[in-house]
Symmetry: C2
Subunit: 414 residues, 2 copies
């Protein structure tokens, strides 16, 4: 009888123990870092909805300029030449990042969101996670393969901490690294780090809202087709969002090149455009826009074109060179859109908002599995059938574009 | 300003509509096929626990011989030369399968399980799904790429119908095709087909049990470490299971070669070994063993070595050439093991059984994402944090072995 092969399970046990230690350490450190950022953010963001229009407008211009100065001069002294994108760091830089990212990006995001720039809070957390994990990898003298995995693990921890959905956050961090693939070897580190970061953030008092959506448990094939329709709609909205973002980036890039502008002037110009826009666009769509998202999830009637205002403001904010996250805007766009169109399909607006929220994430971020899990973690297991069809349909509709320009295609979708 | 590129979203919309039609058709057809099989199965299986020992023993021998005859002569006239493994059909045969599989494998499984052979009910359903989908692909004259995807979609539909967890089933069908990768382009077809097949099976009266496990919502880091420990234990058990299976296959293969046995005699021999074993092993571990799995999920005390009995009986059943599924045994092994060891970690036995059930699937089938979703669909969203850590830990421990010998490694785990 052939010998039992005992070596592999022992190697794997060692792998598990090694990653348990590394990713709990990383998760804890990242959890603390993200908690500090999120507390600062919640203290500074949100005041902008209530101030007089004139102050809003001035803040946007000042914020643009401050962002421009910080991002232009912040990296000046960094000679590593590394990109600060976590996706590039994992795929091309063998897990290395400029450590400076740790403070530059979060401070820029605080300025952007505090001054009313329309953006999200995830980017900074993933940057905090990635740069701390890169730092840990350097201090521990890990080899490039381990550094890469540790960096992905830091990104997962950052998302878990900011979303408040540890498993979906962890898988989002793995799934966003490429289009069309989940690297299963990143799963264990990511989930351990994600759960740890979430526990630490909860312990440190970061608030995570709960939503109670009434999903009818008597799910039918017709209902499924309706959720697929919402998914198609959300995929189209995500497509509009990504297009607007790219067009805005190009437009401001051309302005800079054409008139040889001093770089910090470009976001200042973006601030001016935003300031003019808020004269017509409701201020609900400034900053994180969490209040309007929550109203959508509570079933309030949403305007049909609300999603477009949000997409436009975010495109100008991020396209002109403000820095901020790109996932909260997807939540807002999806919730507002789903809430607005649900009743046309005979669905409850709150249900439409919930399904829309995750479908836009599945689509614009190319992260369908994370989005399905996010739906489950936010809205409960009764939502599984509702969100799954919508997420995969939306994921297909957007094709191979993405809010993350660095995302590479691992597998074609069609 | 650059032109908007409208072509891709339209292509994607066409893809969505095309797959909506193809996979709803496939899902409905597969749902009907699996329902017929499952009704026949539930009518014939399970009587074996109650009959006298002598009858049990004779049935096992007769069942082995009948299986041998059927599998040896059933494919005799098939000249296509194609393998009937869905994994091979997708990866190497461009979506082609011998259509004969549609009845040969289910009938063999009915004989195996009806006579007390220890196996599962998923294999036949995935074979029904794959062969029906291959048939649809041939009738519609689809190109090889579409045929492949349609076949995967049929497999997803089969798993969704037999598990009663449509999303987990659909993703299991995609995830089991290779180690370390989920092909995202299979997701939409798989989920649509899975949901459709599940709805059809439910409509046709296939019973799906519900489990109510009390997961404590006050999850802590210590609790997480305990679930990881259960995961490690389950990974080790899965390793034992896969090893026993391989050793049994080799042993019976050598016997056949050494003594130049007429092939149908080999499973008959397996039946004799099983018949001798049931004199010492409790008959709980024969057939599908659903009753003992349910007792474990209801929190009854389980024997420490129960998982080993099940693994041994299944290894001899399948290794000697009976035909049957390979997933229900993973459920049983996991639930019995988790239920037995939970109290050593201070966890409720039912909770340990639930976590163990999915962890062994994550591991032995190399399907961690499907296993996490299965936990959620079977036990509710409160189980998410409990099952996630266990599933990914178990998935690592087993290394690169698998209950599916055809599974190829897409990404190394360590």
């Amino acid at each position: 009888m052939p010998r039992l092969r005992l070596a592999e399970p022992l190697v794997m046990l060692a792998t598990v123990v090694q990653w348990l230690a590394l990713s709990m350490l990383t998760g804890a450190v990242v959890g603390v870092g993200c908690s500090v950022f999120l507390h600062l953010l919640f203290a500074t963001e949100g005041h902008v909805y209530a101030v007089p229009l004139g102050v809003q407008m001035s803040l946007l211009v000042v914020g643009g300029f401050a962002n421009g100065l910080l991002l232009h001069y912040g990296y000046r002294l960094s000679r590593s030449g590394y990109s600060d994108s976590p996706i590039v760091a994992v795929n091309e830089q063998r897990g290395r990042m400029p450590f400076r990212t740790l403070w530059v990006k979060p401070v820029a995001a605080l300025i952007t969101l505090g001054c009313g720039g329309s953006a999200g809070k995830e980017g900074p957390c993933s940057h905090i996670g990635a740069s701390l994990a890169a730092g840990i990898g350097r201090v521990l003298h890990l080899n490039p393969e381990l550094r890469k995995r540790l960096l992905a693990c830091g990104v997962s921890a950052g998302f878990a901490s900011v979303f408040g959905t540890p498993i979906a956050g962890a898988i989002y961090g793995v799934e966003m690294l490429a289009i069309g693939r989940i690297r299963h070897d990143f799963l264990f580190p990511g989930i351990v780090a994600g759960v740890t970061a979430f526990q630490v953030s909860k312990y440190l008092g970061v608030p995570y809202p709960h939503y109670h959506i009434a999903f009818i448990s008597d799910f039918t094939e017709l209902l499924f087709l309706k959720t697929v329709l919402i998914g198609i709609l959300c995929g189209a909205a995500a497509w509009v969002f990504v297009e607007l973002l790219q067009q805005a980036r190009r437009l401001f890039g051309r302005l800079r090149d054409r008139y040889v502008l001093w770089p910090p002037l470009v976001p200042l110009l973006g601030g001016v455009v935003l300031a003019l826009l808020v004269m017509v666009v409701p201020s609900d769509y400034l900053g994180l826009s969490l209040p309007i998202m929550e109203r959508a999830l509570h079933g309030e009637t949403m305007p049909y074109l609300g999603f477009l205002w949000k997409a436009l403001l975010v495109a100008i904010t991020l396209g002109s060179g403000f820095y901020g996250g790109i996932v909260t805007p997807q939540f807002v766009i999806g919730a507002v859109l789903g809430g607005a169109f649900a009743h046309l399909l005979g669905l409850a607006p709150a249900l439409g908002a919930a399904v829309g929220l995750v479908a836009v994430v599945a689509s614009a971020s190319n992260a369908p599995i994370a989005a399905i899990l996010m739906g489950i973690e936010l809205f409960g297991a009764d939502s599984t059938l509702y969100v799954a069809g919508a997420c995969v349909a939306a994921y297909l509709i957007i094709g191979h574009r993405s809010v993350y320009p660095a995302q590479q295609i691992a597998f074609s979708k069609s």
